[in-house]
Symmetry: C2
Subunit: 385 residues, 2 copies
């Protein structure tokens, strides 16, 4: 299959050095060379988490990381508050329910961010029932809607109302693409995934946990084996993982971290912000309705409504004929939304180019668009950002 112009919110295109690292010969995963690499990539990710905690690396998708966050620190029957703003918020809650947590959900309309005051009210109501949440599940960046929650404000509101609760954060499409301060914001568990900002292939989930979380792990009784983060924590100082790791993707992570460190994390975040502005300006100027609340629009993925008189499949067919791969809607927004991923190895020029193809494809599919307006607005926004 030919190379794709891949603009989905993960997997993302790989830089050349990351691609090449994927062709390296295997080494023993219990030997000194690999042990040194495990420690190096784990430490290399700490600046993106802004944490002193160890960053553990699991061989799974991001969803596996979310399962690890639930099962390693909680017990069946624990009251849990799920703060959901979309498909991945729902998934996080489903995992907790599957393992027997007593889940209360505070849902916000898709396209909106979570309101810290409403979260406080929800915690108060649970406390009044004698069900102060043992954990609160929050999605930092909701990939299905392109909304970034005000994570610091949410964490402060949660902590004010429930000082001892565990704040478990789905940071899968956020960490590395936008600033996160795990320790300063007092988050307890943060999860991310390989194929997002890390610009490596899918197959790894990364997790960091606070002292508060580790204390909770001592009495947590949810059944667990593969996703037991205690086993990962205990193996890490020896440069080990409890189970055979995806060695090749570790090589690729090391290569990606070299690029990210050379660029500098502040520049990485600025680049993502510029790409987000470019995508939003381009789509809006073409006449698409942006789905996310503008105050909380994500810098790693942008969503827009499919025009009412056209099927997404018709537009998508035209885009794929032009080799541009976007994502459709998920869950209840299937067929109603489309999404542009702009995270990982992406530039303003890449997004302007995607906007140009979207204009062409949408026109071909019969969408009414003022020709040239989208790319021009995208270029302008990219320059100003």
């Amino acid at each position: 299959m030919p190379p794709q112009n891949l603009r989905i919110p993960g997997p993302t295109p790989l830089p050349d050095s990351v691609r090449e690292a994927g062709s390296r010969q295997m080494v023993g995963h219990r030997g000194p060379e690999f042990m040194e690499l495990v420690v190096r990539v784990s430490e290399g990710m700490q600046p993106a988490f802004q944490t002193k905690a160890d960053v553990m690396i699991l061989t799974s998708s991001g969803t596996g990381g979310l399962e690890a966050a639930v099962v390693s620190f909680l017990s069946p029957g624990d009251p849990v508050l799920s703060v959901s703003i979309g498909n991945f918020g729902e998934r996080f809650a489903e995992i907790a329910k599957a393992y027997g947590a007593d889940v209360t959900t505070v849902e916000f309309d898709w396209g909106q961010a979570a309101d810290p005051d409403a979260v406080r009210v929800a915690i108060k109501a649970m406390a009044a029932e004698g069900r102060t949440p043992k954990a609160v599940l929050v999605t930092f960046n909701e990939t299905s809607t392109g909304v970034t929650n005000p994570m610091a404000d949410l964490a402060a509101a949660i902590r004010a109302e429930a000082p001892d609760t565990l704040i478990l954060v789905d940071g899968v499409s956020a960490v590395g693409a936008m600033p996160l301060e795990m320790d300063a914001w007092d988050l307890d568990v943060v999860i991310t995934g390989a194929q997002k900002a890390w610009m490596i292939p899918p197959g790894l989930a990364m997790a960091a946990a606070s002292d508060r979380a580790w204390a909770a792990a001592e009495s947590a009784t949810m059944p667990r084996f593969y996703f037991d983060l205690v086993k990962h924590r205990d193996a890490l100082p020896r440069g080990q993982t409890p189970w055979t790791p995806a060695v090749g993707i570790f090589f690729q992570l090391a290569a990606a971290l070299e690029l990210l460190e050379a660029e500098g994390w502040d520049n990485v975040y600025k680049r993502h912000a510029a790409c987000g502005a470019t995508a939003r300006a381009g789509l809006a100027a073409m006449g698409f309705d942006l789905f996310a609340d503008p105050a909380f629009a994500s810098n790693s993925v942008t969503s827009a409504l499919v025009p009412e008189d056209v099927e997404w499949s018709a537009i998508n067919k035209e885009l794929r004929a032009r080799n541009l791969v976007l994502a459709g809607g998920q869950g209840k927004m299937k067929g109603k939304l489309f999404r542009i991923g702009h995270l990982g190895d992406v530039s303003v020029e890449d997004i302007v180019s995607a906007i140009e193809i979207i204009e062409e494809g949408a026109l071909a599919a019969g969408v009414t668009i003022e020709s040239g307006a989208g790319p021009a607005a995208a270029r302008r926004a990219g320059k100003e950002a």
Copy 2:
């Protein structure tokens, strides 16, 4: 780090085309190109399982596959018989216990195979207590000891005693390296892992399940999410996986299957048998005590006792100085055993070369060896096989 002469029981060295497939650019994991690939590699593995059942592909290590086999088909409290001949047999049982199964273990001495009659007796004893096993856990090839269980005989014995039980098979280091007939032997779940006979990097587990297993899944209540095989089964006909798959390793699996198909499965099994004979003859001629019962010695991994007057670490240091990477003992045999992996992309010449280096290294570490005897015996055995 320089290339290693890697002779551990996985990860194994990668053929060039498999390495190169690891450097491919990403594609969308929900698009038509990748969907076609998922179906192709799934079908491509069926001959090694000798099954008509779908082969599902999970993004995890083999241990994750074992967890999937347990949690997808069983309920807490289910009586389960664990047939254990080593470290991985113990692990399979630990997973079942972690999820609340009522596990009875029949253990055989490490280095020995399981005795079908003893397994029958164990099932009878459980039945007499009204605890007929809902499932029997069996390791086909025990990687920690280098013993291959008589899987067909064991399955027949189990089935004779408990016609409706689920036979769950850890085939991680067996499938693709030695003949397996999942359907003919009436096995219910068979698990394997990427970095073994498949000669691709770690990060994928493969699983197939019988109709009997799927019927059991309908009433199975162990908590599960990521490792729910029902979700995998339902996604597969659409060329999908329920969670984002390790796309790069799928590319490598496709490349490996091309090589294996070109060689032909019978030839692949003969090559593994020849490598096993070579390793055993070489080590024995050097004076090492082979650990596995000769009648059940594995063709994918060979284990030998560390001589009493030398530390494994001392020998291993000399081997590593010569760039040969072997595996030590696991569990209670740590420091007492060493192991040569000979599965995946391996030839008789590779194993003769390893035997030569073992001779040199062991001599340097002070082991008394008749110089030249090991390599000569290895060469002879490889020719005769």
